[in-house]
Amino acid sequence: MTDSRTRILEATYSCAGRWGLAKTSLEDVAREAGVSRATIYRTFPGGRDEVVEATVAWAVARFYLGLLEHLVGVSSLEDVLERGMMFAHREIVEHEVLQRIMLTEPDLLLPMLTLESNRLRESIATFLLTYVARTDLVDGVDPELASDFLARMVVSYIATPGRWDLTDPDQVSDLVRAELLAGLVR
């Protein structure tokens, strides 16, 4: 049996996917999760706002864990970036709840999502640092700065592909080798 915190987050996620963020009330969440309103307030003293923020954070963390799982066993920096960006892009495009809310309530979602994407960027930078440290960098390039830079680029391209088709392996490979790595790697 999942703990009540997780049940509340999952319930909020389903309600938001069904009715949108604005129309999701704590009553809906309590009913969906099978817990009382009192339990919700005990778990999230900040009430509705805290529940919604925690749900966005939870969904982003789940996305990140999926990404890490997808990259298990990949060994080179280049491969990690290529496979990671393609996977992340596909997840985002096929993420029905995210896409629906971005279409109907971007004003409510984006501030929270931006905050979470900053955390996501820091996690990605930490993750990439292991790979960057094993890579032969251009003289004068600091591995931490390089990891932070790469994480920024990854987040930028997956959120806003611009001119790129991130479903095309040839384009992604070109992008990783030129825009992402050309200035960093020997």
Binding site: P106, D107, L110, P111, T114, D148, R152, A159, A178, G183
Partner: protein, 262 residues
């Protein structure tokens, strides 16, 4: 940061736009009223509506257009005046960062009404802004590389600036010109030069931004200034249009008009 030089035209229009900027920096968009900005500008409500018949919404659109024009004009000065690629990049990145970071109205909105800004920077809104900015910057970079490479390089550099401005880094501030020079020298310039080097077998043609693929004969070495070449401003201006009808920098100035109010 000095405002765009006053061009002949309706002084009330710019006066109202600047008064609105002051109000926005103080309390944002939601609380903005025509009364407040009329008072700030020292003009009557009647004059405000004569200048902007559409009222508050039309003024806000004029603010966006004016600020975009000021921003792009300043970028054009730095990009057009540079005589090598490195100083073009350092100048443009420093200028863009300073203007974005020191913009008090924008700063208030990012802090208190972030949804108004963010919808233009992520997902499909981000794609549009990125395309408009790339289309503006690319022709300047095309003095040193093919149009295709310039388009890629411009988009890439703009992503870097937006990322560091929207989420400042502890270890790297782009408002520090020395840090920008260092970042350009170690990371950005090598990246741009790699993009410019279309001998790379991996280079594939993905240029939706225009004809692209001009032969190598059309360009000169990345670090020399091409003789006699100057950025084609008219092209940039047309390309700049997010919505071409409202985004013409010359359109921010009204025809001269007698002011008799207040």
């Amino acid at each position: 940061m000095s405002p765009m030089p006053e061009v002949a035209g309706s002084p009330n229009r710019l006066r109202l736009v600047d008064a609105t900027l002051v109000c926005l920096a103080r309390y944002g968009v939601a609380k903005l009223t025509v009364d407040d900005l009329a008072r700030e500008a020292g003009l009557s409500r009647a004059t405000v509506y004569r200048t902007f018949p559409g009222g508050r919404d039309e003024i806000l659109q004029a603010v966006v257009d004016t600020e975009a024009s000021r921003f792009f004009s300043a970028l054009a000065v730095r990009l057009g005046g540079a005589d090598n690629l490195e100083s073009a990049l350092v100048g443009a990145i420093s200028e863009a960062t300073a203007r974005l970071e020191e913009h008090e109205a924008l700063g208030f909105l990012i802090e208190h009404e972030p949804e108004l800004v963010l919808t233009h920077l992520a997902f499909s809104g981000g794609d549009q802004v990125l395309a408009a900015m790339s289309d503006f910057v690319a022709p300047f970079l095309a003095r040193w590389m093919t149009p295709e490479a310039a388009g890629r390089a411009a988009e890439w550099v703009i992503r870097i600036v937006l990322s560091y401005v929207m989420s400042p880094s502890d270890s790297l501030s782009l408002s520090d010109e020395a840090a920008v020079s260092n970042l350009v020298a170690t990371l950005i310039l090598p990246g741009v030069l790699a993009l410019a080097d279309l001998r790379s077998p991996s280079a594939i043609n993905i240029s939706p931004y225009g004809a692209g693929g001009a032969g190598p004969a059309a360009t000169t070495g990345p670090l020399e200034r091409p003789s006699g070449a100057s950025p084609d401003l008219s092209r940039s201006r047309t390309l700049l249009s997010i919505s071409s009808s409202t985004f013409d920098p010359t359109g921010i100035i009204d025809p001269p008009e007698e002011e008799a109010a207040s």
